[in-house]
């Protein structure tokens, strides 16, 4: 019966070809869409976690605490050791954020001084990666890397001094830093109020031996689908750490950004449904017309003893053959393009620039999950069946005598 359906589908030629072509185009498009979105979300995930880590350890209730000194982790060395013991493969580093006033010779601004470990990921991510001029702050030399916008606002250049004031803290409370580098951060409001210091210098200024948070980088996390590992690591850490601390995943630390990533899946589903809906209209039309042209033939088939269900199944099979052959071609085409996209692709120049502001990497790697591929074919099958419903119902209602007497 499949072979009969196959022959019947292609006897029309043109119309079926156009319809199957449309289905192929839809499948290709959706696969590409999935691949692009997968590449974009994975890229955003990597970008985001590169500058935030996968997990953060901080004082319990951090967000509700106003006072700088109560937000600090004082037993930093013990805590770090304990985290490292629990997650031996992970990279663990401390960050100290100090709200301060930074002044040039004539102007000053409220800033956040970020004390980062010299060998850590964050120093690379925040400074090296975006360095526009100069170099990163060297340990023990009271240097600072300033956001370009901040440097402009303070009217300081590389080699100039900037004066930091963090009064009321346990540290020195004030210090002069040499501007060692300028960084061009993708987010411009961050660039206007960020200065990066060496962690030890920041501690000496405002909080000896303490940090605001411990950031954990898990190894080899490339795609969003590996996120389970983050939750597992969080559970391990929570169990291992003493009372008074909280462990947040990147998702909990950045709920808004995580929500944007999570929106991708339902949005893609809606698009896929929409595209398949449109293709389905074409399929309905094709199946219906081929039925109208063959009323007499169906009459004969019914007269020979095929019952209602059998002819309905024949019509549905034709719809399936039509849609699935299109979907197969689209799958091969889309698969080939995805394979190329998986080696890396970029948006055209100006677009890439714009999207970089939202944390989208310039080079992305197309990625689809098996579930997505299966879902495309499930969509195709559903489209075929839904498109066949009405024509099949009409065929099932044919009275054999009328159908046989029917003159086309």
């Amino acid at each position: 019966m499949w072979s009969l359906a196959w022959k019947n589908v292609w006897r029309g030629g043109g119309r079926s070809l156009v319809t199957a072509g449309a289905v192929a185009a839809v499948v290709t498009l959706i696969l590409l869409m999935y691949g692009f979105a997968g590449g974009a979300t994975n890229g955003m995930f990597q970008n985001l976690t590169r500058s935030t880590g996968h997990l953060v350890v901080r004082v319990k209730g951090y967000d509700r605490i106003e006072e700088f000194d109560q937000r600090l982790l004082y037993d930093l060395e013990d805590l770090k050791a304990s985290v490292q013991r629990t997650l031996p493969d992970a990279d663990v580093e401390a960050v100290l954020e100090v709200p301060a006033l930074l002044a040039g010779t004539s102007r000053s601004r409220g800033v956040v001084l970020m004390g980062l470990e010299p060998d850590g990921h964050l120093m690379q991510e925040m400074v090296d990666r975006y360095l526009a001029e100069g170099q990163r702050p060297q340990p023990g030399r009271w240097q600072a890397a300033l956001g370009q916008a901040l440097a402009r606002a303070l009217r300081v250049k590389i080699g100039d001094e900037a004066y930091a004031f963090a009064p009321g803290t346990d540290g020195l409370g004030a210090g002069a830093f040499e501007v060692s580098g300028l960084i061009d951060l993708p987010e411009s409001n961050l660039e206007a109020r960020t200065a990066v210091l060496d962690l030890a210098d920041a501690q000496a200024l405002a909080a000896p031996d303490a940090a605001s948070r411990i950031v954990v980088f898990l190894p080899d996390l490339k795609t969003l689908s590996q996120e389970k590992r983050i939750d597992e690591a969080k559970a391990q850490l929570t169990a291992a750490l003493p009372e008074g601390y909280e462990v947040l995943t990147w998702r909990e630390a950045q709920p808004a950004l995580a929500a944007i990533l999570d929106l991708m899946t339902p949005m893609l589903l809606i698009y896929a449904a929409l595209f398949f809906g449109l293709a389905g209209l074409l399929v309905v039309n094709t199946v219906y017309l081929s039925l109208v042209e063959r009323i007499r033939e169906f009459g004969i088939i019914i007269a020979l003893g095929a019952d209602r269900w059998k002819v309905m199944r024949m019509v549905t099979l034709e719809s399936l053959v039509l849609v699935l052959s299109g979907a197969l071609v689209g799958g091969v085409l889309g698969g080939a393009l995805l394979y190329r996209g998986a080696q890396g692709f970029s948006l055209p120049g100006p677009l890439a620039q714009q999207y970089a502001e939202f944390g989208l990497p310039v080079v992305m790697y197309a990625s689809v999950t098996p579930t997505q591929v299966v879902s495309v074919f499930v969509f195709a099958v559903l489209t075929a069946i839904a498109s066949a419903l009405w024509p099949a119902w009409l065929t099932g209602r044919l009275e054999p005598v009328e159908a046989i007497r029917h003159v086309a």
Binding site: M1, L4, I300, L304, G305, D307
Partner: protein, 230 residues
């Protein structure tokens, strides 16, 4: 002997757009196993209607249809479909065959509907085609066959299914008279050699020579019957 087909006081009135057309007005008919019977009558006399009712393709307005001792007319559509699939062979006037299938596949089509395994249905279809001297055309599509050859494939399809009775509604109407007569000869031979029961209709009196039993239909009534020596 029990008749294969029995019609009692069969009536059929077509209703469309509020107009009632009486097509059959009380037909009694009995067909016995091994008979070769012609329904003769002019166009519009009700031949097709009668064959449709006997084969469970349509429902009478009144009267009864029996097939192999079983009441037909009071059953539902699914039962009728099964009856046609297993007991009745149909040959129509034209366009009997499925255009995308070969002669062999067409001849095997009813067997395929019945779920007969491929090897067996191929064998039976080939045998049936051979009976109609169509085995050399087994791989051809209907549009590569003449009208007469197409009708022979249609008869082979009925034959392959070994039905209780073959109902042929003007099988020769689209053929020239020589080809038409040849088709009737094939049917007669199957009747003679295999004991197949045929009931066919025609409006062409020339086809009736050598037919043993002829039922004359006019205006939906049986107006006469001849039984001749073979």
């Amino acid at each position: 002997m029990e008749p294969i087909v029995r019609a009692r006081q069969l009536e059929k009135v077509y209703r469309s757009d509020g107009i009632a057309t009486p097509a059959l007005r009380g037909v009694d008919l009995e067909i016995y196993p091994g008979e070769f019977t012609a329904i003769a009558g002019p166009s519009g006399s009700g031949k097709s209607t009668l064959l449709h009712l006997l084969g469970g393709l349509d429902r009478p307005s009144a009267g009864e249809v029996w097939l192999e001792g079983e009441r037909v007319d009071d059953k539902n559509a699914t039962w009728h479909a099964r009856l046609r699939l297993w007991k009745v062979g149909f040959v129509f006037q034209a366009y009997n065959l499925i255009p995308v299938l070969t002669a062999l596949e067409n001849a095997a089509f009813v067997l395929e509907l019945r779920g007969v395994p491929p090897a067996e249905r191929k064998k039976r279809a080939l045998d049936a085609l051979a009976e109609l001297e169509m085995q050399d055309y087994a791989a051809r599509r209907p549009n590569q066959l003449s009208g007469g050859q197409q009708q022979r494939v249609a008869v082979a399809r009925a034959l392959a299914a070994e039905p209780a009775v073959i109902l042929a509604d003007e099988p020769t109407a689209n053929l020239d008279s020589k080809t038409g007569r040849a088709l009737i000869e094939y049917m007669k031979r199957l009747n003679r050699e295999k004991g197949l029961t045929f009931l066919f209709s025609t409006h062409d009196p020339r086809l009736l020579e050598h037919v043993r039993r002829i039922v004359h239909l006019e205006d939906g009534r049986v107006v006469g019957e001849e039984v001749r020596e073979a």
